[in-house]
Amino acid sequence: MRLRNYLLGKTLWYIGALVVAVLLNFILPRLVPGNPVDTIVSQAGRSGTQAESLRQIYQHYVREFELDKPLWEQFLAYIANLLQGDLGTSFALYPAKVESVIAEALPWTIGLQLPAILIGWLVGNALGAIAAFKGGWFDRGAFLSSLFLSSMPYYCLAIILLYTFAVALPMLPPGGGYEPGTTPGFTLAFTVDFFRHYWLPFFSLVIIFIGGQAVGMRSMAIYELNSDYVNYGRGLGLPDQRIVRYIFRNAMLPQVTGLALAIGTLVAGALITEIVFSYPGIGYLLFSAISQNDYPVIQAITLIVVVTVLLSNYLVEVAYGFIDPRIRAAQVGER
């Protein structure tokens, strides 16, 4: 009964958050002074597009966004399109559909971020746990460098790595996802080329992530070391091995949550890394969309970020409801 209430409550909250987010996503770009279509078309006009095709483009967008209708009808049309998976037409890459533009960029982002998050998580947790158990100079060194890395903005490390290993010591290519002129495919030459471009953005992400995870894991392990059950276990004369195992399991719980949440935020997690390395993923797409006032693309990216983040947070909370009875109990008193 309690579990059902908990799940129901969480579901309602997340649906509420989703509605607010979609509403913001719809309304904010429409607050642009004038309207975005006028701006875009006037810019296109300056660059000398033919009057006739200009009028066609203009009408296409007015029809697509139903800009001649009242706001609430526009909103209904927007929702209806979303439900059909139609994200509109890009301004800058007319007449490309936003879905296809995003579908092209998304695999690059996932391919970059997912391995970085997983490897960073494994290495970071191992490092943090070892630092907590070993103590001494290893602990101090690992802790301070992890703290430094985790407080450093991730794009700062990206910039420094790029300069060091691609410009000062030209070992790796300075940017892009692959050598211009080659066609992506599953050939040996392309794979080699792909990885040459992959290492720098990958390491700039993974190093920062290791730092954050190590700091978190170390503090959790130390927190557990001070807890009553550890003292009690020692009092009973349990072997260290056993105690370490208990500590590790307890300390892992929040780290697993962290992993799930990090995977949920992966679309927006490395926007600027991709810009620094001109890596052809979502971040780079967003960057060029912003510089060209390509509102449909911007809106689509923010929508994807919102949906993935809310979904992963929701799944984590649901999983916690099943796993941990304390959470369900706490929910009754506190939200």
Partner: protein
């Protein structure tokens, strides 16, 4: 105040931060006459005239750096103050009042916490045609207050049942008077720490937005300098003087503010004392486990809590308080 003993770490990080502030505030007064002036060609290397060379427009980078630091600090301070203010007011009201008001305010807070901040930041910045420095700060504040509100509410509701509040109520004090004079003082140390974190995350959020091309219009900030050097291809051409200084300053500011916050935590947090008490029996047991850092450095155990939150913010590109449940539980545990 003799009871409060600040650690060397506190003084060092404070000194470094104040040096950065002095660079950004005093610097422009004495050497700020070259802003926006052409002093050389495209990416001139550092020389006696231009200490850090010139950027893609031939402007002096050292001058830009001073003004950029100033802009970033101003945005950080305003955003931090506004976000802390909103968070404290909402958290206090919700925690002290309870009932329906608490339900409503915390509902709003939770929804705001769940929506990723970077999305709201991008959408609002795109919608604003001209982004002044103050507008940027307010936009950042709008997205970053929720976790402060949540933490303050938890603390305020623990203060709510104290008896001196009954005395205040009986003597006819109004709700606002009680909140300001009888509840707020209990939270001041916490609010000070939250403010420092808010400032750090606001500075990073501004830098992130500027790098995306959504920085304050017509001004220089550390993020905008990085944006310029990325757009101007200085990374490829090896003009390190245009991007290394702002990168280092940003890292320095973020790191010292987190250090400042964690050393304030050492001073204010009662769990620090518990750590010391626990250290003795653990040290006696002689097991390998006893060599853990807690023994040698009792303070450290408390330190990481909040920096972890900061790390979330950083790692997710200024995603505000990051994952809702995580930052919530982190702060919640401190309050117990």
């Amino acid at each position: 105040m003799r009871m409060v003993r600040f650690t060397p770490r506190f003084w060092i990080s404070l000194a470094v931060f104040l040096a950065v502030v002095a660079f950004g505030v005093i610097g422009p007064m004495f050497a700020g006459d070259k802003l926006g002036e052409n002093v050389g060609g495209l990416y001139d290397p550092p020389s006696a005239e231009a200490w850090l060379g010139t950027d893609d427009l031939g402007h002096d980078i050292f001058t830009n750096l001073m003004f950029g630091t100033r802009t970033s600090l101003i945005i950080g301070m305003i955003a931090g103050a506004v976000a802390t203010l909103i968070g404290v007011v909402i958290g206090l009201l919700a925690g002290y009042h309870g009932g329906v008001l608490e339900e409503i305010l915390m509902g709003i807070t939770n929804v705001a916490l769940a929506i990723p901040a970077i999305v709201v930041l991008i959408l609002i910045s795109v919608a604003l045609d001209f982004r002044s420095i103050v507008a940027m700060a307010v936009v950042i504040a709008i997205t970053s207050w929720p976790w402060t509100a949540r933490a303050v509410r938890a603390q305020a509701s623990s203060v709510r049942t104290r008896e001196h509040l009954d005395v205040a109520r009986l003597s006819g004090a109004s709700t606002w008077q009680i909140l300001v004079w009888d509840v707020l003082p209990y939270l001041l140390s916490y609010i000070a720490m939250a403010f420092v974190l808010q400032v750090a995350s606001a500075i990073l959020a501004e830098a992130g937005l500027s790098l995306l091309g959504l920085g304050p219009s017509n001004s220089v900030s550390l993020g905008i300098m990085l944006n310029w050097s990325l757009v101007g291809e200085s990374l490829r051409t090896g003009a390190w003087w245009s991007f290394i200084p702002p990168t280092l300053l940003l890292t320095l500011v973020a790191f010292t503010l987190l250090m400042l916050q964690s050393s304030l935590d050492e001073v204010f947090n009662p769990r620090l004392r518990r750590g010391q008490r626990l250290a003795r029996p653990t040290a006696g047991s002689g097991a390998a486990l006893a060599q853990v850092g807690v023994v040698t450095e009792p303070a450290m155990a408390d330190v990481e809590e909040v920096p972890t939150d900061g790390a979330d913010t950083v790692a997710t590109g200024g995603l505000g308080a990051g994952p809702a449940s995580r930052s919530g539980s982190g702060h919640g545990r401190e309050t117990r």
